[in-house]
Amino acid sequence: LWFDALGLLVFFQLVFVLSFSTLLLNVSDAKNSEDIRCKCICPPYREHAGHIYNKNVSQKDCDCLHVVEPMPVPGRDVEAYCLRCECKYEERSSATIKVTIIIYLSILGLLLIYMVYLTLLEPFVKRRLFGHSQLIQNDDEVGDHQPFANAHEVLAQARSRANVLNKVEYAQQRWKRQVQEQRKSVFDHHVVLS
């Protein structure tokens, strides 16, 4: 229970941090000058090859005359040249990208570490702390032949446990059992999601 509440809290924090921070970042006026640009693409003209010009200018200055320098054609051809060019103003938020990638990689890293811990380290840690008796019992699936045991489960969850460590332990065991059941139905019996 505690375990799940923590997970839910973390999830919400993540979602709101991400959405509000990006909204705030976009609203704020102090834009990183590296994050705006005016991109002009000029196609080949007579003997000049095509070229792309980038410059950090604001949106009202984003046209051929301000961005294309040095101008490759002499003065009287400038207009004809500029007519073919297409200039677009583009904006991005490099902070958003950085934050997003770092969040993603940290979640991925945490999950991988947890998976390694679960598969390799946990049996050793458990044995050292709790002794043999606390190791996970792998039940076979509790089928319909024990319907009253299931009712037991439903009612048992209303009880509370005093010890915090026991609570975490209990929640983790329950989650592990859930994943095992899911794994059985998806991977072994091919009942769902084949």
Binding site: N26, G50, V142, D144, N150, L155, H189, S194
Partner: protein, 781 residues
């Protein structure tokens, strides 16, 4: 095939009954998980169902006064892999609403509560839109970055992908738009050389290695933490929305794992898309957010309204098409779609699209990577190639569904399914090895579609736009039809190879144990076919301008054929052929193009592909997967064709033991427990007595179990030989007998009944429209 787990409601076998009263039963699964709650709510108690329940809304606010005044925790909730009772949920919600409305006149606090209750739906939609948009932004940005990680790394900040790395650089040239010194491919990083055979082989090797690493991480995370996160998710969400319960399918671990592994799967170069999984992610968000609001947490039917809106938000962020998303939810995913949900879904979809737009994953405030910017006109005669594309789309759809279902069935039944990890790695290896040499398959599929949709102008320098230009007659953007140069010829045969490759590899990829969607691969197949046809028609028009068909409208120097439009129509045709979407497909494509001028070609192609595909095989891909997995789903679009009566379909059949019933008095606790343990039915009819067999009501097994357990613990004197009564007043007890247990409050007094002469079509219609789990058949009462 042995469907131990589910029994499908639409296919009960034929028998007739001997006893007067017979029952058609849709039994739940025999798989009974010991974990019975959904995501545990924050306050720790399982949903307190309403212990007192008056079926059919006789007198909603009168609660029966008997022993068990308090609702027992657990009564009213459902077991895993069972269907919900729509009628019960809806009447519960009506009762709750009536109670709140009547109490709101009493005090200000109650008034505030009633206002809060009304607004909770909108608050939920707002939160849903925000979270769906944020997650979609996270997925888009991360997938974009990780896809490019296979090719190289950016030295000025490892979090930039190729395009963003070279964003501010001045060294990009017209022909090589992505070249800059800050971006180093792996060969350059290790050996300082960027050309040559050795560099190519090293790049190849690193590409395959990264692809294998990503898919290995994806499948091990799925296997280790959330096995429900694999596949597309849309067939299961369809089933859930029709009333089925799959606990954990929309949970938070599934959400986290699906988000993370979707990025990994897309980045590993496999031929899959992210639209289907995005719908699953959005529905998970919706389900998790439901737990914040009591109104939705306790009522399964209202929760499904939220899930419909969530599906709409998911498609909306996938395509940047809010209206298309709502229509997709209406047409493909939802089962019951009340009008109120329409407005709320639209709101959620808009909020999600707006959030994604402000995160701006692709720059330029675009929501999707591929969009269509041209507006060149098309001619009526071009409808012929468009209809050809529609036929191709229908054929491809039918082929894909047949091949994919055959492959999935093989995976389900033979040894292929025992090695999911190895299967994923093998398919990734094959895909990476075959995709690297061809530049059109090396890049991500969305970028491929984007390039194919693009109309060539003077500003483009890609191989596909390598036409022979006549400089004297060019006038700005409106280029005439030109003869193809060698670049276009190379591109054409490369694209043909890519087409064959994609067709074959997508069959094997969809349905693997990683999150996989099929919108993007289908659109890619269609776009390639369309572009090839478009270039063909364009060259035909250029070289044979004197033919009768071209004479009227294609004068020399005019721009008559737009191959990009053909690509778009082809993409729509193939997508429609596979999923059999109609309205939603056209609306999504029309929102992608931003204009009404291409509606007629799109509709022509979509209709043709649907007709051709329907002529070959009746089901779309999602219905086919539902049938393959054996989910209990009553298809709303099918018609029932057999002329049978209810009497012929019901259970028990002629040679079966008589119907298991409970009598309303005279049974002991141990008798009832014996009945429960011996049979696998999920509910029992209650009759007046064994002789008269007149129907009193219906009681669910789960409620019985929970009530008996509760009574054993909480009430004094209940032992195995206590009598159970379903009547209103307990009969007088003989002395020295144990206390009796009254269970009237869990009895449904108004089960749905039909007579045995009812035609099956009406019965199927009743099931479909009311969402029943079971229907009792009476013969003269």
């Amino acid at each position: 095939m042995d469907n131990k787990a589910f029994q499908r409601g639409s296919r009960t076998s034929l028998q007739s009954a001997t006893s007067d009263e017979d029952m058609v039963e849709i039994a739940g699964a025999t798989l009974d998980f010991s974990i019975t709650d959904d995501i545990p709510p924050l306050d720790g108690d399982i949903g307190e169902g309403y212990g007192s329940y008056n079926g059919g809304g006789v007198n909603g606010s009168v609660k029966m006064m008997d022993f068990l005044d308090e609702p027992i925790p657990g009564v009213g909730t459902y077991e895993d892999f069972n269907t919900i009772d729509w009628v019960r949920e809806k009447s519960r919600d009506r009762d709750r609403h009536r109670e709140i409305a009547s109490r709101s006149k009493e005090s200000t606090w109650a008034l505030i509560q009633s206002v809060n209750d009304a607004f909770s739906g909108w608050m939920l939609m707002l939160l849903l839109g925000l979270s769906a948009g944020s997650l979609a932004g996270l997925i888009d940005i991360s997938a974009h970055w990780m896809t490019d990680l296979k090719e190289g790394v950016c030295l000025s900040g490892f979090w930039f992908n190729h395009e963003h790395c070279c964003w501010t650089s001045n060294e990009t040239t017209f022909n090589d738009r992505d070249k800059c010194p800050q971006w180093k491919s792996w060969a350059e990083l290790f050996t300082n050389r960027s050309q040559g055979a050795f560099a190519y082989i090293l790049n190849y090797f690193m590409y395959v290695l990264w692809a294998l690493l990503f898919s290995f991480l994806a499948v091990s995370l799925v296997r280790g933490f959330a096995p429900y996160a694999c596949g597309s998710g849309i067939p299961e969400i369809k089933t859930i929305l029709s009333g089925f319960i799959i606990r954990g399918y929309l949970g938070k671990w599934t959400l986290v794992i699906k988000t993370i592994t979707l990025v990994l799967a897309v980045s590993s170069g496999l031929s899959l898309g992210k639209e289907g999984p995005l719908v699953h992610v959005a529905c998970c968000c919706g389900n998790i957010l439901c737990h914040l609001f009591t109104k939705y947490r306790k009522n399964e039917a209202k929760r499904r309204e939220v899930l419909s809106a969530a599906a709409a938000a998911g498609v909306s962020v996938a395509f940047g098409a809010p209206i298309g998303g709502v229509l997709f939810s209406l047409e493909e995913v939802s089962y019951y779609f009340p009008l109120k949900t329409l407005w709320r879904s639209f709101f959620a979809a808009l909020v999600a699209a707006f959030t994604l737009r402000s995160i701006n994953p692709f720059g330029n405030s675009r929501l999707v990577l591929f969009y269509v910017e041209f507006h060149s006109p098309w001619h009526l005669l071009e409808l012929i190639p468009f209809i050809l594309l529609g036929i191709f789309g229908g054929l491809w759809g039918a082929f894909f569904i047949w091949a994919n279902i055959a492959w999935c069935r093989k995976r389900k039944t033979t040894k292929l399914g025992k090695y999911p990890l190895l299967e994923v790695l093998t398919v990734t290896a094959i895909t990476a090895v075959l995709a690297f040499p061809n530049e059109y398959t090396k890049r991500s599929t969305s970028e491929l579609i984007s390039e194919l949709f693009n109309d060539c102008s003077m500003l483009d320098s890609s191989k596909l736009c390598d036409y022979i230009n006549d400089f004297n007659s060019t006038k700005g953007d409106d280029l005439p039809d030109r003869a193809a140069n060698t670049g276009v010829h190379t591109a054409m045969w490369q694209l043909s190879l890519a087409l064959i490759f994609k067709i074959l590899i997508t069959v094997v990829t969809f349905g693997m144990k990683v999150p996989s969607g099929l919108f993007i691969p289908s659109m890619a197949v269609g776009a390639i076919a369309g572009r090839l046809l478009g270039i063909g028609v364009e060259q035909l028009a250029y070289y044979h301008r004197d033919w009768v068909i071209f004479q009227g409208w294609c004068s020399p120097g005019a721009d008559c054929i737009t191959p990009g439009l053909y690509a778009m129509v082809g993409a729509a045709a193939c997508l429609g052929g596979v999923t059999r979407m109609t309205v939603s497909l056209v609306v999504i494509m029309f929102e992608l193009t931003g204009g009404l001028e291409y509606i007629v070609p799109l509709m022509a192609a979509a209709m043709t592909s649907k007709w051709v595909a329907d002529a070959i095989g009746r089901e779309g891909i999602y219905e086919a997967h539902i049938r393959l997995n054996g989910y209990p789903f009553l298809e709303a679009k099918e018609e029932f064709t057999h002329k049978t009566l209810a009497m012929d379909v019901m259970k028990p059949r002629r040679n079966d033991p008589p119907l298991t019933v409970l009598t309303q008095e005279g049974m002991k606790v141990e008798d009832v427990e014996a009945v429960i343990n011996e049979t696998t039915y999920s509910g029992f009819p209650v009759v007046v007595s064994r002789e008269s067999q007149r129907l009193v009501g219906f009681v669910l097994k789960r409620d019985l179990i929970i009530s008996i357990e509760n009574a054993r613990k909480k009430q004094d004197g209940i032992v195995s030989s206590s009598m159970i009564y379903f009547t209103e007043h307990t009969p007088p007890l003989p002395p020295h007998s144990p206390a009796s247990l009254k269970l009237r409050n869990i009895l449904d007094l108004s089960p749905f009944t039909v007579t045995d002469q009812t035609p099956m079509e009406i019965v199927v219609d009743i099931f479909r429209k009311l969402g029943l789990r079971q229907c009792l058949i009476t013969h003269n009462g």
